[in-house]
Amino acid sequence: MSEPQAAAATPERILLPKRLRAPEVVALLDDIRRRADAGPLTLDFHEVEEFDSSTLALLNYVRGRLANVATVNIGGALARAEESFVMRPPTEEPEGPPSGGLPGRALTTIADRFIFQVKSLGRFLAMLGDEVYHVGVYLKEHKGVYPGETWNQMFFMGYRSFPIVCLLIFLVGVTISITSAEQLRLFGADIYLADLVGIAMLRELVPLMTGVILAGKVGAAITAELASMTVLEEVDALRTMGVVPEKFLMVPRLLAMTLIVPLLVAMADVVGIFGGIVVARVTFGTLPSAFIREMVTSVDWTDFGWGLVKTVVFGWAVVVGSGFKGLTVGRSAEEVGRATTESVVLSITLIILIDCIFAFILY
């Protein structure tokens, strides 16, 4: 350093007050920022007696970030506090090989996620197979499930789901009828509204909508319940009692779903078609008897039967998907919420995928 520069760099000394806690530290930092262009500074801690962690953070900050600010006269309690407090998080070793730069890391992340998803799919399919096995064994041996639990689940899935399923299916029936009526009127084909509503409801909309409602109402509840049980170690407790949780918790739900869905679908079919009858009566003045007479010319029991089969399969997808998410949850309460959301997404995805497969088979 040259002589003239050294002369110009004579630091200005700031004698810090007796009390130097967070408010004083913030004010001091403002002061230092204002003097940024005025040359080097020296902070004199000689009189500082009252301090807190922000004072220690200030010392670190000044030394690490402010090259033109020096600190002097740090002694007594402040010096001891500085020695005993670690103000920096420990430096951690990088977990993986850092090589490859951004594209390498991105590829590694994508590969890791892909492997995770493939493993999850494998576990899901294994669980599906296990559940079919457990239901079969239970029907043969009647062991491993809490007595009366299937009835409880039927009450929850059926009785409590009837009102919402009926309301939404009725509204869907009304909506599809109003939308179609306008087009049919253009061609003078009013009476064919009955055929359209009958086919759409029995084959497609009732199974699909019932499945989606079950995913939102029943599936989410199953995941939340099983995930909470997992977090609270109740599932572990069952296991160490010699109970197979995948059987004890899932079989009653699967049986309840299988038994309750036919009733739910039958009710939903009636209500959905009733929505169409109401619209036909209001829009075209079609009598309900004429509507039904026309409808039965285009739909028969096989349409009802396939709708039923589809909904039972959707119901199983909902129970297995939501049970899978509930039983594979992590150990924190936060993950219960995440698993519940994921279970609804998984259930609806499965329903649409299965519906697509049915479409290929049936049409």
Binding site: H142, K143, G144, Y146, P147, M229, L232, E233, E234, D236, A237, L238, R239, T240, M241, G242, V243, F248
Partner: protein, 249 residues
Amino acid sequence: MDIIRARDLTVGYGRTEVLRDLAFTVPEGRITVVLGISGSGKSTLLKTLAGLLPPLGGEFDFAGSRVDYRSEASLRSLYGKIGVLYQGGALLNGLSLFENVALPIRMQHPKMPEDMVRDMVYASLAQVELAGSAEKYPAELSGGMTKRGGLARALVLDPDVVFCDEPSSGLDPITSALLDDLLLRLKETFKMTLVVVTHELRSIERVADSVLVVNDGGLRFSGDYADLAVADDAFIRTFFLRKDSHDDA
């Protein structure tokens, strides 16, 4: 005789090893306390011994037979010989206390007459002084009652070994002392083997016959509680707040 015998046992989650190369025994008919600071791996070790978490390495025998995590029969045999008291009690919320305690009986012996089930459940509840609360649901029980209910459930099928995960955590000193008395009574009356995970000094002093001390990824001490008092280990001295801890640590 030793009821549990571990050799080179490594426990952990996924690829993370929490405790490595453990070699220890659990003597029959005594209370073995697993102690260590929070996060040292006590509960992880207990989960492995209770058949819930496959070991990452090594093996252990239970009552003379090697526990094979890949064999469903081996695990079923293990579950039939143990009872577990979980940290939060882990009672099923949808069932009354009576039904919670009856659950292991109903699942293991579905054909047992209901009168016998009732007698067994009430006998177990009486041991933990909860016979008067049998019809209550877990949500209606206090923390201490929930733990005692969990213990009643763990005891109802007279297991060879009862694992207790931090039985006194979160309890007041009086309830905690009652639980300790109960564990001692179970040992003395039924010659039961208990493995108790805890870091409560008072509990350790009252109930421990033998001790496993885990810390820093390994086993620091394994042996009688009396020997622990003279163990020449800085961590153990600090743990038991001995006067010379700061000087020697």
